[in-house]
Symmetry: C3
Subunit: 346 residues, 3 copies
C-alpha cells in the first residue's frame, strides 16, 4: 500500500495536493479511475489532465497547468524514468519456481547455476552453461554448447542453435530464433544454389533485450554480434556477420543485411532495411520504412527515404513530389508561352 | 456424396446443365478435373471457363458467357460466399480427441470447460480459464491467468503471456505471440536504456482470426485491444496500447506502432507501417507498403505512398515522378531558349 | 588435420607459398589469426589481404596483388565455391542420435524411415510419412498426413499443418510455419467477415531451404508450391496459392501475396512486396524494398521502386527527385522572367 506522499518521496518529486491518498496502481491518463496514479509525458495528451479521474498525476517540473486540476500532482525531473519506477512498484511478473521441471530435458553434460528456473518441455543439450538466477521458460531449445549469462530471461518457445553465447541480464521474448544458418549460397553453373555452411555463431552481450519472433542468424565465419545494451523489437531480421553497436535501438520489422555494421547509440525505425556490407556511424537516426544502401560516415546524421537521403532533404523533395502535377502544368504553360513568343503561335 | 442439383440447392443457385453429376470436391478453374466443381469470381480468370475440365462451375448471376461452356453452371448471388459454403462442405479439418493429453502440463489451479481438447506438450498455468469447446493444439503456452473463450482454437506453438484475455470463437495460428512486453525504455544520462515495465495486457475480442508468427505486445498500462471480428494476417506487429477497431482487416507484415488507434472496417494492406499515437477513421483503406505518420480524420479515405497521400494524388504524382528526367530536360530547354531571348545567346 | 597443400589439392587450386602449414579452421580476412585460412571474394575487402594474420588466403585466379602478401595464397576458379568446400571441411553440425526420443509423441499410424532422428517433445500425427535419414529436431509439430522426404532436416519449433508435402533434402529452420490457413474471407452485408475454408495444402519440392520464422500458407483449393531448389530467407510471407519457381531466391521479410506466380531463377530482395494474382517472368531481379503490383512479362528484367519501375529508370527519376527543390526554383525563375517579357513586370 503506497500513499501519494510515499510515492512522491520514491520519485524524489514535489507533491502538490493531498499527500494521503492510497494508490492502488498506475493508469492511463484517458482512462484513470479514482485511487490510481497516472502521468503526463507527451504534450498531445495534456487536455486529459484537466478531466482525469485519476487521484494523482506525475508531471514534469516544467509543466504549467492552463486550468485548474483536481488531481494531486507530483512534479519530477524525468517523467518517463518516474513512470518506469512506478511501474516497477506495481509490476506483477510471471514467476517460475526455482529448479528444473521434471518434464524438461536437461543433458547431464549441461552446467546449471544457482537459483535457476527451467520450465516444462524445455530442451537443454550437452555442454550448455546457464548462469545463476537465469529463468528459462517452457518449450525453449538450447543447442549444444550454448552459454546463458546470469540473471538472463528466456521466454517460451525461444530456439537458440548450438554454440551461441548470451550475456548477463539479457531478455529474449517468445519464439525468437538465435543462431539459425545465415543465408549463404554459391551459384552453380546449372543455375542451382550450393549451400555455404555457416560455421560461426551469435554473440549477444549483457543487458540486451530482444522482442518476439525476431531472428538473428549465425555468422558464416566468426560471429554475428549484438553489443551491450542493444534493444531489438519484434520480428526483426539480423543477417549473418552483422554487428549492432552498444545501446542502439531497432524498432519492429527492421531488417539488417549480412555483414552490415551499425554504430553505437543509433535509433533505427520500424520496417527500415539496411543493405549488406555497409557501415553506419554512431548516433545515426533512420526514419521508419527507410532503405539504406550505402554507408553513413558522419555521426548523428538523420535519414529518411528510399533510398534514404538527409531527413530534411527528403521532406523537402517529397513536398515537391506532392506538387509534381502542378509543376508539370507550369512547365507546359511556360512552353506554350515561349512558343508564342518565338513562333508567334497561339 | 453431393450432386450438382444438391449443391445448387445448398447455394440457392440456378442450375444450367446436368443436375445429376456427383461432385467429389472443389478445384481451381485452371486445374479442375472431371467430377470437381470450380468457380469464377475474378474476371481475370474468365478465359479458363471455356476450357475447364471441371464438371461444374459456380458463377455470378451477372455472368454472360461469350462462348459455349461444356460444364454445368450454377448461378449465384455472391460467388465468394458460395465458395465458402462449398469449401465448408468438403472441409477436412484437423481433429483432436476431446480431453487433455497425458503429456500436457495443466496446473490444478486452471479451469477447463466442457468438450475441450488440450494437446501434447502444452503448458497451462495457474488461474487460466478455458471455455467450452475450445481446442488448444500442441506445444502452446498459456501464462498465469490467461482467459480463453468458448469455441476458440489455438494452433501449435502459440505463446500467450500472463493475464491476456482471448474471446469466443477466436482462431490463432501457429507460433504467434500474444502479450510479450511492449517496447518501452527510458534513456539514462549515460545513453543506456532503462526498461519501462509493461504491466498491462492484451484483449482479443470475439470472432477474431490471427495468422502465424504475428506478435501483439501487452500494454504498458491498460490493454492493447483487438476488437470483435478483426482479421490479422501473418507476421504482423501490433505494438503496446494499440487498438484495432471492429471488422478491420490487416494484411501480412504490416506494423502498427504504439498507442495507434485504428477505426472500424478499415482495410490495411501488406507491409504497411503506421506511426505511434495516431488515429485512423473508420473505413480507411491503405494501399500495401504505405507509411502513415499522421492521423486520418475523414472516414473512407483511401491512401497510398510513403508518407501516404490520397490514393489518386499519389498515383498522379508518381506518374510525373516517372517522367522527371523528361521534365528536367524541358526545364533546361526553356532556360536556354529564354536565355537566348534575354541575352541573345545561342 | 589439413595442410595448405592438402587444402589446395581439395580446392583444385594453385598454391603460392608454404605448402606445409597446418590449418586449424577458416577465419574472416579482417580477423584471421595464425593457423587459419581466409578468403578474398569481395574486392571491398582487398586492403585486408596485405595485413592479415591468417596463414593462408583463397583468392581468385584473376587476383593480382598490388603489394607484397605474407600469407600463402591458394588461387582458385570460384572463390565462393571453394569457401563452401572449406567450410564443409571444418563444419561442426549439431548431431542428433538416430531413433525416436522417448519424450516425443509419434502416432502408431505414422511411418518412419531408416536412420531417422526424432527429438524431444516433437509431435507426429496419424498418417505422417518420414523418409530415410530425415532429422526432426525438438518441439516440431507434423499434422496428420504430412509427408517428409529423405534426408530432410526440420529444425526446432517448426509447425507443419496437416497434409502438407515436403520433398527430399529440404532444410527448414526454427519456428517456421507451413500450411496455416490462407487469409481468405468473404464480406457479409453487416460488414463482418466470413471465413473461407482453406482446403488445399503446401508442396515444398526437393532441395529447398527455408529460413526461420517464415510462413507459407496452405492453398484455399489446390496447392501453394515451392519448386525445387528455391531458397527462402527468414520472416518471409508466402500467401495461399502462390507458386515460387525453381532456383528462385527470396531474401528476408519479403512478402508474396495470394496466387502470385514467380518464375525460375528470380532474385527477390529483402522486404520486397508482390501483389496477388501477378506473374513474374523467369530471371526477374527485384531490388530490396520494392513493391510490385503488376506482372512482369520480359525475362531477366531488373526492377526497383514503389511501385517498381525498370531499375535504371527508377535510379534516374530518383536522382531528379533529389533535385526537385532546385527544379521548382528554376520553374519559378522562368515564370518571373517570362512574366517580365510578356507584361513588362519586374
Amino acid at each position: 500500500m503506497n500513499t501519494t506522499s510515499q510515492i512522491s518521496q520514491l520519485l524524489q518529486g514535489e507533491l502538490i495536493g493531498n499527500p494521503d491518498i492510497v494508490i492502488t496502481g498506475p493508469s492511463r491518463i484517458e482512462e484513470g479511475g479514482a485511487g490510481t496514479i497516472t502521468f503526463l509525458a507527451n504534450p498531445k495528451y495534456e487536455a486529459f489532465i484537466y478531466h482525469t479521474q485519476a487521484s494523482a498525476v506525475v508531471v514534469s517540473k516544467e509543466f504549467k497547468p492552463e486550468k485548474e486540476i483536481s488531481a494531486t500532482l507530483i512534479k519530477v525531473d524525468d517523467v518517463y524514468q518516474s513512470l518506469s519506477t512506478l511501474l516497477q512498484l506495481y509490476e506483477q511478473q510471471e514467476q517460475l519456481p526455482i529448479g528444473i521441471a521434471t518434464t524438461a530435458f536437461v543433458s547431464n553434460k549441461a552446467t546449471v547455476g544457482k537459483n535457476v528456473s527451467i520450465d516444462h518441455f524445455t530442451v537443454i543439450y550437452d555442454g550448455v552453461e546457464i548462469g545463476d538466477d537465469a529463468i528459462i521458460f517452457a518449450q525453449v531449445y538450447l543447442g549444444k554448447g550454448v552459454k546463458i549469462g546470469s540473471g538472463t530471461k528466456i521466454y517460451p518457445g525461444v530456439k537458440i542453435y548450438h554454440d551461441c553465447v548470451i550475456g548477463n541480464n539479457v531478455i529474449i521474448h517468445a519464439n525468437t530464433v538465435i543462431g539459425s544458418d545465415g543465408f549463404g549460397f554459391s551459384k552453380s553453373e546449372d543455375g542451382s544454389y550450393l549451400k555455404i555452411p555457416q560455421n560461426g555463431n551469435v554473440i549477444v552481450e549483457d543487458d540486451v533485450e530482444i522482442g518476439s519472433n525476431t531472428v538473428i542468424d549465425r555468422a558464416s565465419i566468426g560471429s554475428t554480434i549484438i553489443r551491450k545494451g542493444v534493444k531489438l523489437d519484434n520480428l526483426i531480421q539480423i543477417a549473418h556477420n552483422a554487428e549492432i553497436g552498444e545501446d542502439t535501438v531497432i524498432a519492429a520489422q527492421a531488417g539488417i543485411a549480412g555483414s552490415a555494421k551499425i554504430g553505437r547509440h543509433c535509433i533505427i525505425g520500424g520496417q527500415v532495411g539496411l543493405a549488406g556490407h555497409i557501415e553506419i556511424a554512431n548516433g545515426t537516426m533512420i526514419q521508419a520504412k527507410s532503405g539504406l544502401s550505402s554507408s553513413v560516415k558522419a555521426e548523428n546524421t538523420r535519414l529518411y527515404g528510399y533510398p534514404a537521403l538527409d531527413y530534411g532533404h527528403y521532406l523537402k523533395s517529397y513536398a515537391y513530389f506532392k506538387k509534381l502535377p502542378e509543376l508539370a502544368e507550369k512547365i507546359k504553360k511556360l512552353e506554350k508561352e515561349l512558343d508564342k513568343i518565338l513562333n508567334g503561335n497561339g
